[in-house]
């Protein structure tokens, strides 16, 4: 598993203080590691909140007919599940990882703008308190789907304004977080850390942050128009006044498509860190990985209307968006090829992070392929708004984004906490997850192809069997995550039994493995010197 290469040359590089005591440490902190921890714990909590909502959905869909919840509450669950998972679980998890890792990976003492870093996090609990509070309001929470399409979303109750403002706050948090990450990467690197020496996780986050800065304001604009249409009598999405509901979809998906890459590019970075470690080979095609990431980011701006092929668009538009979407398969294929080529003839071992990373490569690719199917306009006319779409985006988001986050958690947990998790439990967690998640989502492909619509609490009896399997898979997957919760809490709060080496994993490269384990409160007060082969997962001769 892990071997000691060097023991640490002591961590006293600190004349001054460690963390403050008590609650004020967490509320007033400017330390990137504290803030990273806050983000990650918040994300974990939201993962379970959003997961509970998913289980309400799966309980209702266990059998045909209406048994468990009212249809309106079902709709609130589908809407809130998505908002909580996207803005509360996946995005904060990646920002938390960036906070912990980017400064350590580039050899910086902290994030570039530490006070704003604190604010980026501390907006989130307020935003989500506001969002979740709508469930307890008289009118209930939002029920028109997370995409908030008008006119339906405008016909909801009083909670609408709270939802919109909560989204504004989340956007504010994301933009500030992204600006901080860009400034850190571009301005805080150790002198020898030139751009093409940066770990791929740093590269993917640089590009993700750019996407965030470009599209979160567009979401803010779109929801502001909804707000004024609902409360101040504007006609943006009202055809009677010369507006158009479809216009909302265009603006929304101009944000929405880059958003889905915001949720996957950091995952690419994580997997590109982990696979070389456990294959004990440099990452194959480092530079092509960087260019592929940049290409995907560029393409993400010109494919948005593939989410709306059935809403009415000139034929030329449908063709353009279909081909542009398919082009994304090229850089993505480059990435998958590179991961496989990295493993090729490597001295592979399969510790839990590697299992999740390999699981990611296979299952994310399945999600990518179903995405290609959806990109085909005439086929999409059939698949649109069916469970096929649900299956597709859960493959890329659960077995893609979430698996990568778990891989990252296992990979860096020892560095963060100083405790090694139990490999046995980790493997149980992985194997149970990978079996149950496929039981959960794979049958949904068939349901969708057979015509079962999404976001409906009842269904025709011919869909009963697959839905029952899917629900069983859902509950099993949900319960399995309690193992993960136990592992994380035990590593975080359990007693430290052994002193782990700096380089926790034998094949690990990168500056974060040159500091003590657990990482001291302050790292790299002075810019580190290093040899290329210590940091680069890349082709060091590039």
């Amino acid at each position: 598993m892990s071997t000691a290469e060097t023991t640490h040359h002591d961590q006293d590089d600190h004349h001054d203080h460690g963390p403050a005591k008590g609650l004020s440490r967490w509320v007033f902190t400017t330390n990137h590691k504290d803030i990273g921890t806050l983000y990650l714990l918040f994300s974990l909590a939201m993962f379970f909140v959003g997961g509970a909502m998913a289980l309400v959905i799966r309980a209702e869909l266990f059998q045909p007919g209406l048994q468990v919840v009212e249809p309106d509450f079902f709709n609130q669950m589908t809407t809130m599940h998505a908002l909580v998972m996207i803005f509360g679980a996946v995005m904060p998890a990646f920002v938390g990882l960036a906070n912990w890792l980017v400064p350590m990976m580039v050899g910086a003492p902290d994030m570039a703008l530490p006070r704003m870093n604190n604010w980026s996090f501390w907006i989130l609990p307020f935003a989500f308190a506001m969002l979740l509070s709508t469930l307890f309001m008289e009118s209930g929470g939002p029920a028109a789907g997370w995409t908030l399409y008008p006119p339906l979303s405008l016909q909801g109750g009083d909670s609408f304004a709270f939802v919109i403002f909560a989204i504004h706050l989340m956007g504010l948090s994301s933009i500030m977080g992204a600006i901080n990450i860009v400034a850190t990467i571009l301005n805080m690197r150790a002198p020898k850390m030139n751009l093409l020496r940066m770990p791929l996780f740093v590269w993917t986050w640089l590009i993700t942050a750019f996407l965030l800065i470009m599209v979160m304001p567009v979401l803010a604009g779109a929801v502001t128009m909804l707000l004024t249409d609902r409360y101040f009598g504007t006609s943006f999405f009202n055809a009677a006044g010369g507006g158009d509901p479809v216009m909302f979809q265009h603006i929304f998906w101009f944000f929405g498509h880059p958003e889905v890459y915001i949720m996957i590019l950091p995952a690419f970075g994580i997997v590109s860190e982990i696979i070389p470690t456990f294959a004990r080979k440099p990452l194959f095609g480092y530079v092509s990985m960087v260019y592929a990431t940049a290409s995907i980011a560029f393409l993400s701006f010109i494919v948005w209307a593939h989410h709306m092929f059935t809403t009415g668009m000139p034929l030329g538009g449908e063709l353009f968006f279909m081909y542009a979407t398919m082009v994304i398969a090229v850089p993505t294929g480059v990435k998958v090829f590179n991961w496989v080529a990295t493993m090729w003839k490597g001295s592979m071992t399969f510790e839990t992070p590697m299992l999740f990373a390999v699981g990611f490569v296979i299952l994310f690719t399945i999600g990518g392929f179903s995405g290609l199917m959806l990109a085909i306009v005439p086929a999409d006319f059939q698949y649109h708004d069916t469970y096929f779409v649900v299956a597709h985006f859960h493959y890329v988001l659960v077995t893609g984004a979430v698996f990568s986050i778990m891989a990252a958690a296992y990979y860096w947990l020892p560095k963060w906490t100083g405790n090694m998790y139990s490999e046995t439990l980790g493997k149980w967690h992985f194997w149970l997850s990978v079996v149950t998640v496929n039981l959960l989502f794979f049958p949904q492909h068939f349901l969708g192809l057979a015509g079962m619509p999404r976001r409906i609490p009842d269904y025709s009896v011919q869909f009963a069997e697959f839905n029952m399997w899917s629900s069983i898979g859902g509950f099993a997957f949900g319960l399995t995550q309690l193992i993960f919760l136990y592992i994380v809490l035990k590593a975080s709060f359990g007693k430290r039994t052994e002193q782990l080496p700096d380089r926790v994993w034998e094949g690990a490269k990168g500056l974060e493995w040159t500091v003590a384990t657990p990482a001291p409160y302050h790292t790299f007060d002075e810019a580190p010197d290093f040899r290329d082969e210590d940091v680069a997962h890349g082709d060091v001769a590039h």
Binding site: A112, P114, N118, L172, F232, S235, A239, D244
Partner: protein, 289 residues
Amino acid sequence: MAHADGGYYIPHGTRWPIVGSIGLATLTASAANFMNGNGDFWLIMMLGGLAIVLFMMWGWFGTVIRESEQGTYSDQVDVSFRMGMIWFIASEVMFFAAFFGALFYARQFVIPWLGGDGTGLATQQFLWPTFEAAWPTNGPEAIGGEFALIPAFGLPLINTLILLSSGVTVTLAHHALRHENRRALVVWLAATVALGFLFVGLQSWEYVHAYQDLNLKLTSGIYGSTFFMLTGFHGLHVTLGAIMLLVILGRCLRGHFTPQHHFGFEAVAWYWHFVDVVWLGLFVFVYIL
């Protein structure tokens, strides 16, 4: 209260962000309650939330200004601030892009389709067969009733000249600062502030005129929506920019900034040029075309 090893200043412990979060949450939750018609109490709460946010900004910027004047910030910190401002302005550009996008989409696609062009044929035929595509419009049901326009080459042109001149004066102020000519700095900066507020004043006067005499309102269909949201958000940004310039003027009067180090000044000047450029877009696409 901080350590600055390796030259990069890392503050320890900050109270302002949590104050800001409480302020923003109070502001937005109260606004939501107020908009839902839950009573004037929430308007007061809203103002309270706003006051907390302003208090936070006062305190936070105050801290940064103090640290800056004490020479806490190295050149590397300065670069971080510059990047922060550049990317903040980039995000603002994209915010306006959403509203410009709505304007272009409405004019280019929605209105022609409602008038029977292309894929909108059925809508036209079955819902509003008599509607003829034209711009400006408040839609097939003439929402908000008949309205008149503000001619581009009246007040808007004057406003354009005002903003362009203010771009010149702020640059003159910058040159004066770099050449250590404090008197000229203060004069040109004061002129910029005056032009900024003059613009806001004229714009407000135009709004009153539009509402009272032209029946051009936020509720005047898609024209009113795009007109007031674009010019309104722009006006808000000019107001903020003018307040920022005023703060910088106050700092100049207190002897802040040196010919070499004056990023606070530059950041506000960048912001000012940004609102200037947005206005040019507005003048062309909202008023002229």
